[in-house]
Subunit: 256 residues, 2 copies
């Protein structure tokens, strides 16, 4: 790992394929979804109507791999892993997408809850997937997003186990970061979200839940990928879940 | 005036033409901009890139005059005054726009600072244009918005004089409402915003500034109208400045 976001991106660009939780602590991370210009309004409206899972941090100009979140970055190469989608089906999971890029692609950078993990750690709250060295567990829920144009789909959540007496602190700390998912959407009771078994996440890896800990669920920027599956746009590129774009933006920028 | 938002809309629908500050206190008010579907992405992206002046509360489906902010309302008739724009020029200021409406129009409802005026009044801070019974003064500034697609233009601000010892309270109170412009963008020093004379606002009416009061400036939802003038889309419908859409949404819904 490295503490420097540009160095992190350089390592990913060189082919290092790893989940990014814990990388460049103190810097915001972002989800990626890129679609043809013809679908960009639907994605932006879907995000506007579902701001909790889809808080938009930046939108690129058509065809450009540049983002205001990191001046020297190239969105086609600087994430550790990508997913390429054809008609809503996962077609490839490459390390870079230069060959797939198109002149009409508009990329959306969406806030990621990894951004408030450094403040959680600073408050003495263990972030289990970081201490375990695994990817964060993520789950499809039974909560439909508000549809927008041709896009619909369920909300996806990430889960972190939190000691019962620190749940209020985790709510308060993450709640200060509304543009990177903010406060949890659900605390405890996974069945009420339609999650049958925490040990089998839909994305990422399971984590241990210790005695006295409660599963806490945050809205997740993988939600657009669930919408791709449900709505079948002809083409899309996303990050691979947990393998985020590391920005140059300090996390305190998003604190309110 | 009336305290009931549906009654307010009924009176405006019947032809009552009046600025809406102070109407239905406790309910959010909204700016309107409707553009052809072909321009909707530019407007939504402009709003995403300029969230302080353009916080989006709702976006309608093409052609629909219905909004989630007030189930029984008709956006074509229920505002007290409208503006119709052709190629960036003001073409009409009618009381209703049924005859101008088009099947491809997408309407954006954008947060309005009138929403936090009730909390300001409740804190004992006089809102001058309400006590004077006039329209709020609004000014074009020298601050460019971040362009989006074909849209560009300067930020517009509203101004309220606040006693120097209550400025911090006004900041704190309005800051709790980020989706209706939130905290001020500028306090004092109008010349630094490019405002030469507070007595001659670009929109609305001037207000008295009493000794010991400071002019406080909030980002304003008339900003899209300045963008229409600068960017000249072929067609648009907006509210007339200060003549807002009164919603059924309690203002505390937007408090954080």
């Amino acid at each position: 790992m490295t503490a420097d976001p540009a160095d992190a991106r350089a390592r990913f660009r060189a082919g290092h394929r790893v989940p990014t939780a814990g990388w460049a602590p103190g810097y915001a991370q972002a989800n990626l979804i890129a679609v043809p210009r013809d679908w960009a309004y639907d994605v932006l409206l879907f995000a506007q109507r579902n701001p909790k899972p889809c808080p938009v941090l930046d939108v690129t100009d058509p065809g450009s791999p540049r983002t205001a979140l990191a001046g020297d970055a190239d969105l086609r190469t600087d994430l550790p892993a990508y997913r390429v989608w054809l008609d809503g089906e996962l077609a490839d999971e490459p390390d870079e997408v230069t060959g797939y890029w198109r002149d009409d692609l508009v990329a959306f950078l969406i806030g990621c809850s990894f951004t408030f993990e450094a403040p959680l750690l600073a408050a003495g709250i263990d972030v289990r997937h970081i201490s375990a060295g695994t990817n964060v567990p993520m789950y499809r829920t039974n909560r439909p997003c508000r549809p927008a144009g041709r896009l619909r789909g369920p909300m996806v959540v990430s889960m972190r186990p939190v000691p019962a007496d620190r749940v209020a602190d985790a709510v308060r700390i993450s709640g200060r970061f509304p543009s990177v998912h903010g406060a949890p959407v659900h605390v405890g009771e996974p069945a009420a979200l339609g999650i049958a078994d925490l040990a089998t996440p839909d994305f990422g890896d399971p984590v241990e839940i210790r005695p006295g800990e409660v599963p806490v669920f945050w809205a997740c920027g993988v939600t657009p990928q669930a919408a791709i599956t449900a709505s079948r746009p002809p083409f899309a590129i996303t990050h691979a879940p947990g393998h985020m774009f590391v920005t140059d933006v300090p996390d305190h920028t998003y604190a309110v």
